[in-house]
Amino acid sequence: MTFGITPRRAAGVALTLAAGLLLTACASAEPSPSGSTDEPGEFVRGETLRLGILQEPLSWDPSQAHVGHLLQPYQAVYDTLIMREPDGTLSPMLATEWSYNEDLTELTLELRDDVTFSDGEAFDAEAVKVNVENFKAGNGRQAAQLADVEAVEVVDADTVVLELTQPNPALEYYLSQAAGLMGSPAAIATEGIATLPVGSGPYVMEAAGSVPGSQYVFTANESYWNPELVKFNRVEMKVLVDVTARVNALVSGQIDATIVDARTAGQVEAAGKTLSANQVDWTGLMLLDRDGTLAPALADVRVRQAINYALDRETMLEQVQLGAGTVTHQVFGPESGAYIDELDERYPYDPEKARELLDEAGYGDGFELTIPTFPGLESIVPLLTQQFADVGITLVAESVPPQNIVADIAGGKFPAAYFFLFQGEPWVAINQLISTEATYNAFDSMTPELQELIDEVRISGAESDDAAKKINEYVTEEAWFAPLYRLDQIYFYDPNTITSVPQTQQAVPSIYNYSPVQK
């Protein structure tokens, strides 16, 4: 099994392209800048790429790397073994090809032999081994990505085998994410790596200009093995936690691109910036207490379905998000292989039906449900409370300090919770929401039937998407969740200076997706 374009991916490419064209057409009356990298030979490297970022690395040690917003800074300085294209296709990077053995427990990677780290160390199979071991020992945020990797066998200088304890359908994807970031073996063992990254990436961090909490500065890696990916002489990432500060910086031209929110999008658009939106997270309720430990009513599937029917998703999307999103009834995203179109019509708004179901379940007189609330939910909680009240359920929102929220949900302190969750690859979502190891399966809910489906995903290799679809059907039908909508990630860039292509399942593009406007 090597990289290749599956039909699903091909559809993804087409969709992304179509969406991109549509957005460009809507967003600006001026002619859009041409995709410069398409004409080799003519490309002129840009001067400085200035990005507004809102999260920064805990440490530059690749073992501490993260996904989403946080992948971008690591990508500037570290290459991944496998490259993930904007549409999600996996393509060669430090590894030129890769393949599994028959029972999917050994992944053999062929490596480039012309790559050196910025400290002069050579990249080879030994370096991969050191990095994998460092990642496994580092107890980082994504340590789970390599949990199934038991050992690394160095076959020769440019061949390495990852030996797995059991098949892992997302491993190739993980090698394009945190687990695939390769640091210099001489540097990652030292304390210095925490503040000064040493990788083989397209850029090198400039320590003197970088201040955590303020900005990170990178300069072009002149000896980079793939000059096409070095599109700017300099990259500046300015840490701007406050959305108003990001809007002001973008509108006044201090930065070239950043992420804003639905309420500020109008102002940014009016200033002539180009929207480059995609969807990464879903938001809604997790009906966690499926065995009825804290809230006996939730043990009845009819009650959980009733909650789904009680929600007027359209209205909430309009009022809370100003319509910037798409209503959904499932927790898997359209870019993941587990998505099923029809499921998004499973629970239309029908309070009458909700009341009937509650009645059948013996909760015709209603019941009380407690969820945690935290800053950011001010507008959604009153709407939820109202809609729950309409079918006879009393929603109690208990205030929880933001730093405690994940621990409280994961610790099973609440029978249900409203939250924002990443829609990743099927295996990622399963292990975040559904399996018994999942953080957000707080009460370890499981049925033999579901466990069988999960095991099937694990061992199905290329067909794992079909198995994941069955899981999606199962948890949607069983109403494990009550999703409301997928949120638009509202990313804007300045069309006079750069172009930017959205990256699937990432709120912010990968570092390779920006190009300077060619004059």
Partner: protein, 313 residues
């Protein structure tokens, strides 16, 4: 004078230790979920437990505080849990920005409020009333509202200065000037309003004293009475007001720095506190307390120099 200074410094050290213990215990009791937030929501319970062990979060209060205290005594304040930056470096990078912001704002406050207060006290009449009304308005407008207003008007609309700080290591004077201009004004307006008001009363009080009448009866010029005698006598009151303003401004800087994305101590304090970054919070608190102690001491010394009567106490 020397023993006075030494006594004040001794009291400062006691205060420093007391505040450290207090802050550490508050942080200790709200630090239950830091490990979970560090490893993220995709980590297993085992990972969370391991992280707690790595950070020493599984240790009892006394041993954690003792560890921190002994390292701090030897000058090692640890590293940020959330950015890996050494705390001493983080503070050294950021303190100059906050101190410049507050010092320039206080200087501006001193000059402007003295002028206004003096004008109101001497001229009285409509000028006095205008100053009084202006002071109430200036005092009532919260600094952060003014800051947001300034950004929108002068930075985003008129493009006179950048809306977001351009101060970075090695940045020139121009970057410092344009980045600090609006924050300084936003910070100073409240302070000017209240200080001018209080200086006005202090000057009026002096002008009504007998010695002023005596000086006048001797034919000493009004200007000389004002600058050589009245102002000097009113100065201790003014200095005390300014020192209180200075400390208040350290608090105001927290919000103003956020709005202008200034990489100072204030914005560091906000991020570190909300994340539960104990090493950084402790460092910030420690250095802020030291600044407050030093400023108070300096004010007392200057007051003593201005007014010998204070020295005995």
């Amino acid at each position: 004078m020397v023993s006075f200074t030494l006594r004040r410094l001794g009291a400062g050290v006691v205060l420093l230790i007391a505040i450290s213990i207090l802050t550490y215990s508050i942080l200790f009791f709200s630090s239950a979920n830091i490990a979970r937030n560090l490893v993220g929501d995709q980590a297993t319970e085992e990972q969370v437990a391991l992280k707690e062990q790595q950070l020493g979060l599984d240790q009892p209060f006394l041993s954690r505080f003792a560890d921190w205290f002994m390292s701090a005594l030897s000058g090692d304040f640890g590293r940020s849990w959330f950015t890996s930056e050494p705390v001493a470096v983080a503070i050294a990078n950021r303190l100059p920005i906050t101190l410049t912001l507050v010092a320039v704002a206080i200087l501006l406050t001193a000059i402007v409020s003295t002028l206004i207060g003096m004008l109101a006290a001497v001229k009285r009449g409509w000028m006095d009333r205008a100053v009084q009304v202006g002071a109430v308005i200036g005092y009532a407008a919260p600094g952060f509202v003014l800051a947001v207003l300034f950004v929108t008007l002068f930075a985003v609309q008129l493009r006179l200065v950048p809306p977001v700080s351009t101060i970075s290591p090695g940045a020139g004077a121009a970057a410092w000037f344009t980045s600090l201009l609006l924050p300084v004004i936003a910070l100073a307006i409240n302070a000017v309003a209240s200080s001018a008001q209080q200086l006005r009363s202090a000057i009026i009080k002096q002008l009504e004293r007998d010695y002023v009448r005596t000086l006048r009866s001797r034919g000493i010029a009004e200007r000389e009475i004002l600058f050589r005698h009245v102002l000097r006598s009113a100065a201790p009151a003014g200095l005390t007001i300014l020192s209180l303003q200075f400390i208040g401004m350290l608090g105001g800087a927290v919000i103003v720095e956020q709005i202008f994305a200034l990489p100072g101590i204030g914005s560091l304090a906000v991020t570190a506190t909300s994340a539960g970054d104990i090493p950084v919070v402790m460092g910030v608190v420690l250095f802020t307390v030291i600044i407050v102690i030093v400023v108070n001491l300096l004010v007392d010394l200057v007051n003593g120099w201005l007014n010998p009567k204070v020295r005995v106490s």
